[in-house]
């Protein structure tokens, strides 16, 4: 203990703390509940506090200037701001310190907004007391803060893009055009994602494949892009600038450099299984490409369906088939990662009242897209699944699995109104005599040209919009026709409408394997289950893990224009550290007080990351790979192992300050030091 104290003294002796405390009003957000003047006055009496002020907006320029001026005028060497959450503005204030020539780590923020004024709005007295306590705790910690240097690390000029939908393709193309190497990893055998499955796209009615496939080809041809399909990320290690990623590339049993994509093998293959690409409505062979324009145009043997009969091998001219091919594990080094894993369609069976899965003539939006698509299973003719007849009366039910707390999806999927109107219009164009209904709660036509598109559907196409969420769909077992029961909430009338086909606008959900990606990359998810951005307004494509960004629907429901814009944004964000060539990283890592280390190796065993080794029978930390979790420090029996910026003394000081007033602290070591 004596040694420990001695060392602490040595660290402190450089300078007596001179602390400035700033209590923010945040307009009325804090000052409307907390008596900020009283808090500032209280703070001014705390030991080592040289100035204490309150101000309207500390984060605004004049607020920051106040700090900077005081640092110069009063020779402050520690700053405490009592304001919003440090997760909000810590970087802002740290920068202000830096600009005033003070080390940015000599800063501590007390959270008196999110953790106080906003959650105790009806208890101004208690909130004011709590604000004082939180400020006292921050001051106690500030006294013991030490300057830290942010280590600089080199950034690998290569990026990993996970997911080859339109989002992933766009991000990859942008980064590649900027001159960075890109690895584009897609789990299915081809790029394209859901957009490749769509027929036309609202509101312009471009054919989806016509605008997507050129991009896929560009990606394939780009010298900076390496496309890795039928592959998944297995392991991610490292940090911004230096990620090491393991990719399992599943065996296609077809050699990519030999296959010419001629398709003779598939013709020869005797096995037929439902085609995922057509939502299981059509069939494919055991050796297949998901769709004719697949990129890369390389066939894949579906191991589960393959009989091993050898027919494909027999007809393959370039001898591309290799039944013995094994999975390959690739190890990549990248500086940044973009996640673009997309969405999955809501499983409409979870709304049993609509009969999906039980009634043949109830289909989903994505199934409709395949059935009207010229390369789809019916050659583009929409036929009823039950009898192969053209339907005359079609109804689209919106918000299936969206805006529905009962199935756990209170959010809006944002595209279903528009794609249903699109599909209704498409059908009306070909069959002007058809009766087409749309059952809606509200129509959300928020984009450029969308409202106009909707109006036309109503006025020019004669599509009937009925406001009401259908209670149920019942099948007539003989005709297989469907009876939709709905209350028209505009007319206040219960209706029963007989239809030949019902299309459910099944909403968007996070991709089924989001959880796996979340764990691999240490991401957070928001309440809706989609990946969470670092800040909903100001950092919409960053994640809280430096160097990892989000593109497209993996972050939340989006249409194609929004997906593409966000993908370009993610590419631009990811390019910043790669263009800079080096980044600063957090200095919050473990360090050893050698004189206290007894060489027991407990820390070494506790660390999951292999950071600690023993050098001369004392613990040694490899700072470059330490994550700063603190497990070692918590386990060390002597206090030798510490975490920078989270030392035992700093934490003890906060505990003490949380539970008692400072006067009681008088007589403690540091008080004596002053006297």
């Amino acid at each position: 203990m004596a040694e420990k104290k001695a060392e602490r003294k040595a660290e402190e002796k450089e300078e007596e703390p001179r602390i400035g405390v700033y209590v923010c009003h945040c307009g009325v957000n804090i000052a409307g509940v907390v008596d900020v003047k009283e808090v500032a006055k209280y703070a001014s009496k705390l030991k080592n506090v040289v100035v204490a002020r309150d101000y309207k907006y500390m984060c605004a320029d004049p607020g920051q200037q106040l700090i900077k001026d005081d640092i110069k005028e009063h020779k402050l060497n520690r700053i405490v701001v009592a304001a919003c959450s440090p997760r909000m503005h810590e970087p802002t204030f740290r920068r202000a310190l830096e600009e005033a020539g003070l080390n940015p780590f000599l800063f501590e923020q007390a959270n008196i907004r999110e953790h106080n004024s906003w959650v105790h709005m009806k208890q101004p007295k208690e909130a004011t007391e709590k604000a004082k306590d939180l400020t006292r705790m921050a001051v106690a910690r500030a006294r013991r803060l030490e300057p830290q240097q942010k280590p600089k690390v080199k950034v690998e000029r290569a990026a990993l893009v996970i997911g080859g939908g339109v989002a992933g393709i766009q991000s990859a193309l942008d980064l590649a055009d900027m001159g960075f190497k890109v690895y584009l990893v897609e789990k299915s055998p081809s790029l394209g994602g859901k957009m490749a499955q769509l027929d036309k796209t609202f509101p312009t009615m471009d054919c989806s494949a016509c605008i997507l496939t050129p991009k896929m080809v560009d990606a394939a041809r780009h010298e900076n892009i390496e496309i890795i399909t039928y592959a998944e990320v297995e392991e991610v290690d490292g940090y911004i600038g230096n990620f090491t990623v393991k990719i399992r590339k599943r065996a296609k049993q077809v050699l990519e450099d030999k296959c010419t994509g001629c398709g003779l093998c598939a013709e020869a293959c005797p096995v037929e299984v439902p085609n995922e690409f057509d939502q299981g409505l059509g069939v494919r062979k055991a050796i297949y490409v998901p769709f004719p324009q697949a990129v890369p145009l390389v066939y894949t043997i579906d191991d589960e369906a393959c009989l091993g009969c050898g027919m494909c091998e027999a007809v393959c001219g370039p001898e591309a088939i290799d039944y013995e091919q094994k999975d390959e594990v690739l190890e990549l080094k990248v500086g940044t990662i973009i996640v673009a894993t997309g969405f999955d369609q809501f499983d409409a069976r979870r709304k049993p009242e609509y009969g999906y899965g039980r009634y043949e003539n109830v289909i989903t939006g994505l199934e409709f897209e395949r059935l009207v698509n010229a390369s789809g299973p019916t050659g583009g003719k929409l036929l009823r699944p039950s009898d192969g007849k053209e339907p005359h009366r079609i109804g689209f039910i919106l918000c299936v699995g969206s805006r529905d707390a009962k199935v756990g999806n209170p959010y809006c999927s944002r595209v279903c109104c528009m794609y249903s109107i699109k599909n209704a219009r498409l059908y009306k164009e070909k069959h002007p005599e058809a009766e087409v209904y749309i059952f809606y709660m509200d129509i959300r036509a928020y984009g450029k040209g969308y409202e106009e598109f909707y109006r036309q559907a109503q006025e020019e196409y004669g599509i009937k919009f009925i406001r009401g969420r259908p209670g149920e769909v019942v099948e007539d077992p003989k005709t297989k026709n469907l009876l939709v029961r709905v209350e028209d909430t505009l007319l206040g009338l219960p209706l029963e409408i007989e239809l030949d086909l019902v299309v459910l606008a099944a909403g968007m959900e996070p991709a089924r394997d989001s959880e796996k990606i979340q764990r691999l990359l240490r991401l957070s998810r928001s309440a809706d289950g989609f990946f969470a951005e670092a800040h909903p307004k100001l950092r919409p494509v960053d994640t809280l893990t430096d160097g990892i960004y989000l593109a497209g629907t993996c972050q939340g429901p989006k249409d194609i224009p929004d997906t593409v814009s966000q993908a370009s944004a993610a590419a631009a964000r990811a390019a910043i550290p790669m263009a800079m060539g080096e980044v600063e990283t957090e200095p919050i890592v473990a360090f050893v007080r050698k004189e206290l280390c007894i060489g027991c190796r407990i820390c070494e065993r506790t660390c999951d990351f292999g950071v600690i080794t023993m050098v001369d029978r004392k613990a040694h930390v490899n700072e470059a790979i330490c994550k700063g979790c603190g497990a070692c420090a918590a386990a060390c029996p002597t206090g030798a192992m510490q975490i920078r910026h989270f030392t035992d003394e700093q934490i003890y000081a906060m505990i003490e300050a949380a539970l008692r007033e400072e006067t009681e602290e008088g007589g403690r070591e540091e008080v004596k030091a002053e006297a």
Partner: protein, 140 residues
């Protein structure tokens, strides 16, 4: 005499629970003001001595909150915290402290409501237990 207002110290990880607290704030969820939160990067940093120190200084309850199992930013920091809390719960009765005064909760960054409910629940529970035997002596 005024109603007993317990003093609570809470240790929370930066990535999940502290952020969950921020979300409770932005969502304006109201809960009682008894807790004082100390932010750690991860619950892995929770030295059992911190908890003992808090009780020794007069805390009536200590709340530890981190990411859900599997979600810890450092893979398994929360599992380590869980072990330490279990160990502490065995030790506390030896010091005359009811083990219920120490609570461990997993609260994600998206669970503002769970955060507020945890606060309500824990504070009510400690209220029911009354002042900690150590806190009585600490307060003299």
């Amino acid at each position: 005499m005024a109603e007993f207002e317990p003093k609570i110290v809470a240790f929370m990880c930066n990535w999940c629970s502290y952020a969950g607290g921020d979300l409770a704030g932005t969502s304006r969820l109201q809960y009682p003001p008894n807790a004082r939160i100390i932010r750690l990067m991860c619950t892995a940093r929770l030295d059992p001595a911190f908890v003992l120190k808090a009780f020794a200084e007069g805390a009536d309850g200590v709340l530890v909150a981190g990411c859900h199992i599997g979600d810890c930013h450092y893979v398994s920091g929360n599992l380590k915290a869980e072990k330490r809390v279990k160990m502490l719960k065995k030790l506390l009765p030896e010091l005359g402290i009811e083990p219920e005064r120490l609570m461990l909760r997993w609260i994600s960054a998206a669970e503002g409501e769970r955060f507020a409910n945890t606060m309500k629940e824990f504070i009510a529970l400690v209220k029911k237990l009354g002042p900690s035997p150590l806190s009585v002596s600490a307060r003299g």
